[in-house]
Symmetry: C2
Subunit: 334 residues, 2 copies
């Protein structure tokens, strides 16, 4: 069985073989083929957006995706959230000695396929190998470069009282999928991660409304954490209506068993849209036409008060506060 050895990370012959035989095969493009210390990008006009993320998810393969797909989606989505058109990715691997070569190839192939789907090019890479026991199979960093072509400014501090809060679909799918796959937590339900690309959906949203204030993907910490960040940045509060929040029945049941709140569970293919009230229905309608937004719902609104909090109006009529989570919910969810 072919496995990754420390020599694959030494910069010598085996590193070169890995680059030539595996990375160039799946990531091939004319920029990567420059083979220099830096890659030179073609000129483009517009403001540049940059974002970085490391992925340490466990397990590395799961229903609906794998660490390779996730590491492309995560960074492409972060670029899309700023209104940028994602163009380029860099990929850095930290691999544990002993990883099966076939496993790495599956991941690399998945990165290549997802990048192609997102229409982004992988323009630079790096591979390090650490001794067995000093990593857990593989960690991946992706850094993304995109361009903001339109005169657009999306930011957490833009949210204004009266704005509507839309989510693109059911919440908590990714976190519960990963949780159910973890060792010692094998449940008998199959929940698929929502891991997916949001750039097309975002493009449609921005095309149909020029009154979008904020886009944010509610990953680690879920919707509640994301909205707390926005409340904090905008110095407003946010009121959610529990009855409108889409959560799959299986996810809800699993959350009950595990003592989790789906509003705090990670998503990897959902977007939160904060949009001026008058455009909310139009944006919702457009979102529902896209496969990534077919279950979209208006779930709340921005309200004026000085507390910078997130409130949930429950189905039984009460109101509770959704605080920023203090502890660890699900380690290594992304």
């Amino acid at each position: 069985m072919d496995i990754i050895t420390l020599s694959h990370g030494s910069g010598g012959k085996l590193t070169h073989n890995l680059i030539e035989d595996l990375f160039y095969k799946h990531f091939n493009n004319e920029i990567l083929a420059q083979k220099n210390d830096s890659s030179i990008l073609p000129s483009f006009s517009g403001k540049i957006a940059v974002t970085t993320d490391s992925f340490v998810i466990n397990p590395i393969f799961f229903d609906g995706g794998d660490i390779g797909k996730l590491s492309v989606c995560g960074t492409v989505n972060d670029l899309a959230m700023s209104g940028a058109k994602p163009l380029y990715l860099t990929v850095g691997f930290i691999i544990e000695e002993g990883l099966e070569m076939s496993c790495l190839e599956k991941i690399v192939e998945s990165i290549g396929r997802t990048a192609k789907e997102a229409n982004v090019k992988i323009v630079a890479g790096d591979t390090k190998v650490v001794e067995k026991g000093n990593a857990d199979k593989i960690y991946i960093n992706t850094t993304g470069v995109g361009v903001i072509e339109k005169n657009i400014y999306l930011s957490g501090d833009n949210a204004k009282p009266g704005d509507k809060v839309i989510v693109s679909g059911t919440l908590g799918d990714h976190g519960i999928c990963i949780m159910s796959k973890r060792k010692n937590l094998e449940f008998d339900v199959s929940i698929k991660s929502d891991c997916g690309l949001l750039n097309n959906l975002v493009e449609k949203i921005l095309h149909v409304s020029s009154n979008v204030r904020v886009l944010r993907d509610p990953t680690r910490g879920g919707l509640a954490t994301t909205l707390n960040e926005i409340a904090n940045q905008s110095r407003n509060s946010i009121l959610l209506y529990e009855e409108n929040i889409p959560v799959k029945d299986e996810v809800r049941s699993m959350c009950e068993i595990l003592g989790l709140d789906p509003l705090y569970v990670a998503n990897e293919g959902k977007v939160v849209v904060i949009v001026a009230s008058e455009d909310a229905d139009k944006v919702l309608e457009e979102m529902r036409k896209d496969p990534m937004g077919k279950d979209a719902q208006i779930v709340g609104e921005v309200v004026k008060d000085n507390s910078e909090k997130v409130y949930l109006k429950t189905e039984i009529g009460g109101t509770r506060m959704l605080n920023m989570p203090a502890g660890e919910l699900l380690p290594r969810i992304c």
Copy 2:
């Protein structure tokens, strides 16, 4: 004692505290302060250069530097090698649960100080924490964005027969420093890593000559590996003169004890310059005026033959081939 816990990587309150109290303190700039999923960079004109590197060095503190300083120098230097002015860095941390907070702060402070020295801004970041035993203290990815303002093209395939090969100083210092610090390999000599920034030196080189063909920093795999890559890209061969190659006596002795060849040992603050013969003396003189180039030497030349090899003319008059290294030399050297 304050330590890093899984909660610091959860995206919740402790992650936010880490960002606000530690990262903003040492990396503070107006772009990072945007606090959105992507950071928007000010417009700039010129071609963009991008590079990425992950750092897994062991130990994380060593004579002459630490993993933080190294992770800035490594990426800034890679940008400089393409003739780009380094402008922006992203930083991704993968931290092992249990790392002392004071240790992280030292590293973050070192990143901040080195970035300031290099005149680059840290514009985006990410922090993941993995369970104890799934990393070794801390791994760092940095991705760099720079701009190529002049009409310049530096690339391994530019090397032409007759061109001179210059190295900016003594070889092998970094690798031997790290080797001597490793557990069970404590020698009684103090060799300082050459870990340092090359962007100023490179700017001077490019200012004094418009006939520079290639710049490359001989990190993992050392000078021999770097020159093999250039021989391969340019389809020429390279002839080195052993007597001209600067190596410190302590490094040479240590290499003899360890059975290593200093030409294959990593450097982290050295540049290899391939320049047209007529400009070689001028470039050498200019390099020696800079503290990072004071020990610069012309060590060889590009020669025409179809073998794409690197040859070493030894001090005793023989010639031997310096092949691309096949195995692991020093794991986790960067």
